[in-house]
């Protein structure tokens, strides 16, 4: 019997069509989770019963000769920021401890309709605020390549689960790089689709003009298969784009860069970039050139201001979005100490202090400041204009090239605790990924090998114009084939 946990989603789908049962495949992943979780802590909740019930149902329907969707019976993990009926959704926060949503997110409803057993909910930085998964209220997740190191974030649980063979597929969310950066740190593929390409309905909102759900997998083709399950117009999300989903699976199977114009972003290199990351990246660029791509150096001068703009726009939206956690309708309610018959306002303030972690409070206060009268134009207003400048850089670049290329992150995974005392240092890690969120464009991170200096995974990021997600999968699949990325043998302690 083959080890199903080592198979890609495409291989599992083929095996299922060939007589293997989804119950067997799902159980193999549940066993793997039980064996691996003590050293990884990728999951906040495992739903063995629900996953096996879905698997058994798919097996029954297949046995009956029903024609099933491509990924029916292939298990998936879901970031715990995404609403699931029947399973808690905590957003990694004490304020939502034990909360079970009364409705499914659209992406979850689509997973269910496509017959994917949901293994459980994965760990994240609280409300997706962080780049290391160290800001979860429920403990750190460890990087399977070195358990003394962070898996990236905020979708660190989903990334670690896929990298450690606990799940072949996972959903993440990406507001400033939270799918692509943990993808790079754990040596897997992560995609942030075009803004509006995937529904946000039922996803706990962090920064609504930036948030996007996307697939995480060990191969580009697997990510494309999951992308096609979740993407497409949703009338329940008013920012959802009513346009056909790009043919990303076909693109991932094509993987041909001959004649493709690839722009290497001049500003995302040099100072601050780890030598081991830069040399892997340079080798990947060379391999693409050898394969027939036309490599062009392009300049996007406003990208260096992306972090400053992002850390104003995002906290502003955060301070507004998280006002809903008011201790009145759902979530944690605590009474303020030493107050007799407290008012609603006092209960709110006490509950929000007890329920939110440090990073969340930091961003709410920062956003409240940026939006306050007298500072609004100088901070939030200026940041919105920088957003326009970044979008203009992209437009100019895409007049010259088909896709853009950069490292996904300036460094490989750092040690737990290394950056938690300096919030600004952590923010600077997002320099490569943020521009795509600000402009609403799609991006993919593809593993391109291990850094010579740290022995840890390095990712390359491809970016494309809005609704040209298929270009990412085409170029990403070619890149995947051209580089040599070692397979993780066993979780490294």
């Amino acid at each position: 019997m083959s080890d199903h946990t080592r198979s890609s989603a495409a291989q599992i789908a083929a095996a299922l069509a060939d007589g293997t049962t989804s119950v067997e495949v799902t159980q193999a992943h549940l066993d793997r989770i039980a064996a691996t979780e003590p050293s990884i802590n990728a999951f906040l909740h495992v739903d063995a019963e629900g996953a096996l019930a879905t698997a058994a149902d798919v097996d029954r329907r297949r046995e009956a000769g029903e024609s099933l969707p491509a990924l029916a019976g292939v298990p998936v993990a879901v970031k715990d920021l995404i609403n699931t009926t029947g399973q808690p959704t905590t957003a990694g926060s004490r304020i939502l401890e034990g909360w079970v949503p009364p409705y499914d997110a659209t992406v979850v409803a689509r997973l269910r309709a496509a017959g994917l057993p949901i293994l459980g909910k994965t760990n994240l930085d609280e409300f997706a605020m962080g780049s290391s998964t160290e800001h979860s209220a429920y403990g750190d997740t460890r990087n399977p390549w070195d358990t003394d190191r962070i898996p990236g974030g905020s979708s660190g649980g989903s990334a670690a689960a896929v990298a450690a063979f606990e799940a072949p597929l996972a959903l993440g969310t990406d507001t400033g790089g939270s799918i692509r950066q943990p993808g790079a740190m754990t040596g897997i593929v992560g995609v942030k689709p075009t803004y509006g390409g995937v529904s946000r309905y039922g996803v706990v909102a962090m920064a609504s003009s930036l948030d996007q759900v996307g697939p995480m997998a060990r191969t580009v083709e697997d990510a494309a298969l999951l992308h096609e399950v979740i993407a497409g117009h949703d009338p329940l999300d008013s920012t959802s784009i009513d346009a056909p989903v790009p043919s990303v699976v076909e693109a991932a199977r094509r993987g041909d860069v001959s004649g493709l114009r690839i722009g290497v972003i001049r500003e995302l290199a040099g100072e601050g970039f780890q030598p081991g990351v830069q040399s892997r990246f340079d080798a990947a660029v060379e391999a693409l050139a050898q394969a027939g791509a036309e490599i062009v150096e392009v300049s996007c001068p406003s990208f260096v201001h992306g972090i400053a703009a992002y850390y104003l726009v995002m906290p502003s939206e955060v301070s507004s979005n998280l006002a809903r956690f008011d201790a009145m309708r759902y979530g944690l309610r605590v009474a303020p100490e030493g107050v007799d018959g407290p008012s609603a306002e006092q209960v709110m303030a006490a509950s929000r202090d007890a329920g939110f972690g440090d990073e969340v409070k930091r961003r709410i206060v920062l956003g409240t400041y940026a939006l306050s009268s007298g500072y609004y134009d100088a901070y939030y207003g200026s940041a919105q204009k920088v957003r326009t400048l970044i979008a203009r850089d992209f437009s100019a670049a895409f007049e010259q090239v088909d896709v853009l290329l950069s490292p996904t992150a300036p460094t490989t995974a750092w040690r737990l605790g290394e950056k938690t005392s300096d919030p600004l240092a952590m923010y600077l890690e997002d320099i490569c990924t943020i521009p795509a969120n600000l402009a609403g464009l799609p991006g993919i991170s593809v593993p391109i090998g291990l850094a010579d200096d740290t022995g840890l995974p390095v990712g390359a990021q491809l970016l494309a114009p809005a609704l040209a997600d298929d270009r990412l999968y085409n170029a990403g699949a070619a890149l995947e084939r051209l580089v040599s990325m070692p397979v993780l043998q066993e979780v490294a302690r």
Binding site: V100, P101, P102, Y103, Y195, G196, S209, P235, S238, T239, I241, S302, H305, A308, A309, Y311, L312, A323, A327, M328, R329, Y330, L332, G341, P342, S343, A344, E345, V347, A349, A350, R352, D353, F356, D358, K361, R362, I364, V365, L366, T368, Y369, A378, Y379, G381, S382, Q384, K385, V386, R387, T388, L389, A391, P423, L424, Y427, L438, A439, G440, L441
Partner: protein, 102 residues
């Protein structure tokens, strides 16, 4: 523009945001926020040197006024809507006193 922000400012912002921060938290945020604000304040200089024709961008998708037909459709039952409530009574959310005494 300098981004001077005092401990008192942080306390005021936290009260606007309805978070009762502890003294320790006020000390920490009072120390951290100026460094962060110094960094993000760079956007002001960028915008000044970019000229007058830069429109603010609030959103990546240029769509507006997305309406649906005004028809009845399934929603949550009162039981489901109240399931996560800290307290409820007679199909309503039970909340602490909002208005002052008579």
């Amino acid at each position: 523009m300098s981004s001077a922000i005092s401990r008192e400012d942080v306390a005021h912002l936290a009260s606007l945001a309805r978070i009762s921060l502890s003294e320790d938290e006020l000390d920490r945020l009072g120390a951290e926020l100026p460094a962060i604000l110094d960094h993000v304040a760079a956007v002001q200089g960028v915008v000044e040197s970019a000229g007058d024709d830069v429109e603010p961008m609030s959103h990546p998708v240029p769509i507006s006024n997305v309406f649906r037909e005004d028809v009845v459709r399934p929603g949550l039952t009162p039981e489901a809507a109240l399931e996560g409530a800290p307290a409820s009574e007679e199909q309503r959310f039970l909340v602490p006193q909002i208005l002052g005494e008579e």
